[in-house]
């Protein structure tokens, strides 16, 4: 009886206290015809030892590769302390801090998190997390629509935004009667500003600006922000939090700054781990605080006047406001925020700036090495953050297969399905985890594969 503490005596005593003759009688309110038989497709139990062996085997099957894939999930060094502390029972197995007095650890940490995220993004307020970057974007769009009462419900989204973010956005706002206008990219891999200028003022509620964008390129965020303002639209920034250590924060974009900032917190301490759990972050200007989805922690005082922390502005949330809530989100990604807060504390602003720098330099170096290979060229001519696109002399997929099978290299993300206009394009990513030798190894392998 794994995880059941009852002895036979306990069971007998308890049934008799209840006045129930048997376990079965406890289910006597369930109509007999509904009761199910044994679960034929659930295997018999394994002991922890057996399941450990199974999982070690499965883990081993996921072969390791030297990875240059980015595309929304980034391999960074995570200090050992981050997860050793995050998985302490008191963080790991705690519930949502509704009973504030018994949850000051989590609450203070969340307050510190909110402080760091507002600082990083240059905004006034932060919530305590969304599910992930893509869903945070969808919630940001809904938030913008809520706070922008007048006019047509329309959001302008550049094609330089991650294609999977666009798909998630479509799925999550689908029922809300919001138009989505996609803006093409220009030859430099940036949003085609002209296409936005062509839109009528007042004809859209908000503009989404990814920085860096999906190609790793830097958007002209000041111009875009000012343009959106001029058209009467709000600005939603989608940012990589590590890049913000070097980049102007969205709060300072253009004349006014962005209104809402969101993104995926994965680069702040979440392992790649097949895509999750990560967390979405969402910060905004002060005046939007009551439109924010998700939990918010505030500092207050106790009966003795001593400072303490508690969930606040709960009247926005589903458990109070129900069908009029700012979102249906309830369980969020708390544990990942715990990790991120410790991660940011250990790295600090300078540490994050160094990570960003090393990643950028590595990407530039790899780009140079690869574009020296005959037939390989860069797709765009400008520099960017820690991703960049190259074009190969032949179809990408078989090249990636050969790199993986023969060299143990996961060469990047094949752009050809999402951006057929770019040809045999491949998106690659270098973070601070890669050495010069790794980059040379990739270049040599690619040269060899292409040479035959």
């Amino acid at each position: 009886m794994p995880f059941i503490p009852h002895t036979e005596t306990d069971v007998a005593d308890m049934l008799s206290a209840i006045g129930a003759p048997s376990f079965d009688s406890l289910f006597d309110e369930i109509p007999a015809e509904l009761r199910c038989g044994p679960l034929a497709h659930v295997p018999q139990r394994l002991t922890e030892m057996e399941v450990a062996r199974l999982m070690h085997g499965r883990a081993h099957q996921d072969r390791h590769g030297l990875s240059f894939i980015g595309a929304g999930a980034y391999e960074h060094h995570i200090p050992a302390a981050v997860w050793e502390i995050t998985t302490r029972g008191e963080f790991y197995s705690a519930y949502t801090p509704y009973q504030a007095e018994a949850s000051q650890g989590t609450l203070q940490l969340l307050y510190e998190f909110q402080s760091m995220m507002t600082a990083l993004t240059g905004m006034d307020v932060s919530n305590a997390s969304m599910y992930d970057g893509a869903s945070a974007l969808a919630e940001s769009v809904l938030m913008a629509e809520r706070s922008h009462k007048a006019g047509k419900r329309r959001v302008v989204v550049p094609r330089t935004l991650h294609p999977l973010y666009r798909k998630v956005l479509f799925a999550l706002i689908d029922a809300q009667k919001i138009d989505i206008v996609e803006i093409p990219h220009d030859a430099s891999g940036r949003t085609d500003i002209g296409a936005i200028e062509a839109l009528e003022a007042g004809s859209f509620t908000c503009l989404v600006i990814p920085q860096p964008n999906f190609f790793g390129a830097f958007e002209d965020v000041d111009a875009l922000t000012n343009l959106a303002r001029a058209k009467g639209a709000m600005v939603i920034a989608v940012v990589n939090p590590v890049s913000l250590a070097l980049l102007k924060p969205p709060g300072e974009w253009g004349a006014t700054g962005a209104d809402i900032v969101c993104g995926d917190g994965q680069p702040l301490g979440a392992p790649l781990a097949s895509g999750g759990p990560y967390f979405g972050f969402l910060t905004a200007k002060q005046e939007l605080v009551r439109q924010m989805p998700g939990r918010i922690v505030g500092r207050t005082v106790d009966l003795d006047g001593k400072p303490g922390f508690t969930l606040t502005l709960q009247a926005r949330e589903q458990h109070i406001r129900r069908s009029k809530a700012t979102s249906n989100i309830c369980t969020n990604q708390g544990l990942l925020v715990t990790a991120a807060t410790i991660h940011m504390t250990l790295l600090g602003a300078e540490g994050l700036a160094r990570v960003a720098t090393a990643s950028m330099h590595g990407t530039a170096e790899l780009l140079k090495l690869l574009s020296d290979i005959p037939g390989v060229s860069r797709v765009f001519d400008n520099g960017g953050f820690h991703e960049t696109a190259i074009v190969l002399p032949r179809a990408v997929a078989p090249v990636l297969e050969a790199l993986a099978a023969e060299y143990g290299i996961l060469g990047g993300f094949d752009l050809s399905a999402d951006y057929p206009e770019l040809g045999n394009a491949l998106l690659l990513c270098v973070t601070e985890t890669k050495t010069h030798a790794d980059l040379r190894h990739y270049a040599e392998a690619l040269a060899a594969v292409l040479a035959r």
Binding site: R63, G89, A102, Q108, Y111
Partner: protein, 504 residues
């Protein structure tokens, strides 16, 4: 002792040096206009300072690993440590979500197995693991209901029914899907008011969202009748699986007539709540809803996997892969993609490990012992004079006591009891939910707590009631032994202080 903010431990120029790359930051690579001018206000501390601060903060929390946590509707049971240790194996942590299939077969095998287990447990025809929490599972479910009606060209259905006892996420989700919500009252026995339901359904009914057993802690006995009424009206039935723990291996939502369900794997499948999340809200569907499932889903690679493309990568090695991702090419009517990659993979691995350790018989035992504990605790409290909200009913895995009488007689509120319990070393039950029962405590002991703990919990409640009769002011001053006394929530909302700002 209070713990300062990490910012208050910060000193300019300090760092956890081992953690940062050796080469200095270089802003010159950033175009001048895009460069950050002032560094963000973040702590500058040593590694020891960080470790000590967050270790000390952790000690200011209650948690399953340290305290009994009888939070109704939340299923705070033991989170087996093996689930964490094994989910954190280096290879699992290192796998990129877009890694090729050749480098993903171990992970995919786990996900495939989990889909199969959940299908069997719920009696549904298909399962998608991608939703990232219960509420997103609800979103997916209602989106599928909408997609189903649309696919049939039925655009008149604009309303979702929910019982008044429903969790807040149910109506909130309906709104996100563009539906209006209509509340169905509960009768005095805790069941759905069938007449009211009959009166409410019609051609405008898209569906009903039900939890069974409900958040009132009772099993809805006429579920088949309800299903008939809704189905006859052309609506669909949505099952909120938050309470699946109560019926695991005993009765299956699919057999009750539900069309779509979500499961809170962080409840029934015991993945940790993590101080607020992450969760996982896998959805299950009946046969006719299969085409609408959210993607990606793990399929068997009967045909060779698609070549590396968008979405979840492609096979990169010549070797035969057994599993592959199904995406929009396989499910063109899918409601789409709910997360960038495939949801909370690490949570799903934990749930999978837990399911394998429970096994077929263990699933049933979960329901049996969760129900035993709830009914025993209910009987014990009743015997000590506490009022049950539904005295004539069996408890499911949870039950409600109401302090309406105590509130009237001696001003003892559910909050007072909740706060004072903390001093006795017990986390409070869920209070003031469901909304329809005044001064209620929704109590869910779960199957992993032992009898001695339940008995001590009863003793504590009895003692608090006695204290309150003696000195209600004392109880209203609780807690006394936590890091802080009772906090001023009103001030928190009025004088909003939600980030650190250094004193000028």
């Amino acid at each position: 002792m209070s713990e300062p903010l990490i910012f208050e431990r910060s000193s300019p120029g300090r760092s956890a040096y081992a953690q940062r790359p050796a080469a200095a930051a270089d802003f010159s690579a950033i175009p001048e206009a895009l460069r950050r001018k002032t560094p963000p206000l973040m702590p500058e501390v040593s590694e020891l300072q960080a470790v000590r601060h967050y270790t000390r903060l952790s000690k200011r929390n209650f948690s399953i690993d340290t305290h009994f946590y009888p939070l109704g509707s939340c299923t705070m049971k033991y989170n087996p440590r093996a689930c964490n240790t094994l989910a954190m194996l280096p290879e699992f942590l290192a796998r990129h979500p877009l890694a090729p299939m050749s480098h993903s077969q171990g992970f995919l095998a786990c996900m495939y197995d989990l889909q199969e287990i959940l299908k069997d447990v719920t009696g549904m025809a298909g399962v998608s693991l991608t939703p990232m929490a219960g509420a997103q599972g609800e979103f997916a479910g209602v989106a599928m209901i909408r997609a189903y009606h649309r696919a049939r060209g039925d655009s008149a259905r604009t309303e979702i029914l929910v019982p008044d006892a429903a969790h807040g996420t149910n109506p909130a989700t309906a709104t996100m899907m563009g539906y209006t919500t209509r509340e169905i009252p509960t009768n005095s026995e805790g069941d759905v008011d069938i007449e009211a339901l009959r009166a409410a359904v019609g051609p405008h009914t898209a569906g009903i969202m039900l939890t069974n057993p409900s958040t009132l802690g009772v099993f809805e006995r006429r579920i088949k009748q309800i299903a008939g009424i809704v189905h006859d009206a052309g609506g669909l039935l949505y099952y909120d699986g938050a309470n699946l723990n109560a019926i695991l291996g005993k009765v299956r939502p699919g057999d009750m007539g539900f069309d779509v369900i979500h499961m809170n794997l962080h409840k029934t499948f015991s993945t940790p709540h993590g101080g607020g999340g992450p969760g996982a809200g896998a959805v299950g569907v009946s046969q006719r809803m299969l085409p609408f499932m959210p993607i990606p889903i793990v399929g068997k690679a009967t045909s060779p996997p698609p070549l590396a493309g968008e979405g979840q990568g492609g096979g990169a090695s010549g070797e035969a892969a057994s599993f592959r991702w199904l995406d929009e090419r396989d499910l063109p009517q899918s409601i789409g993609r709910l997360s960038t990659f495939m949801g909370n993979a690490g949570v799903l691995i934990r749930a999978y490990i837990y399911a394998r350790m429970l096994g077929r018989d263990g699933m049933q035992r979960v329901a049996e012992y969760a129900t035993l504990n709830a009914n025993y605790l209910m009987a014990s409290l009743r015997d000590k004079g506490f009022d049950l909200a539904f005295p004539g009913r069996r408890a499911s895995h949870e039950f409600i006591i109401t302090l309406k009488r105590q509130k009237q007689q001696i001003e003892l509120s559910a909050t007072d009891v909740a706060k004072r319990l903390l001093d006795y070393g017990f986390h409070a039950p869920t209070v003031y939910f469901p909304l329809l029962v005044p001064e209620c405590l929704l109590i869910e002991p779960t199957e992993t707590e032992d009898k001695q703990t339940l008995d001590l919990f009863v003793d504590a409640l009895v003692a608090i009631w006695a204290e309150a009769r003696r000195d209600i002011k004392y109880v209203k001053g609780a807690p006394y032994t936590m890091p802080v006394r009772r906090l001023d929530d009103v001030r928190a909302a009025r004088q909003l202080d939600i980030r650190y700002q250094p004193k000028p």
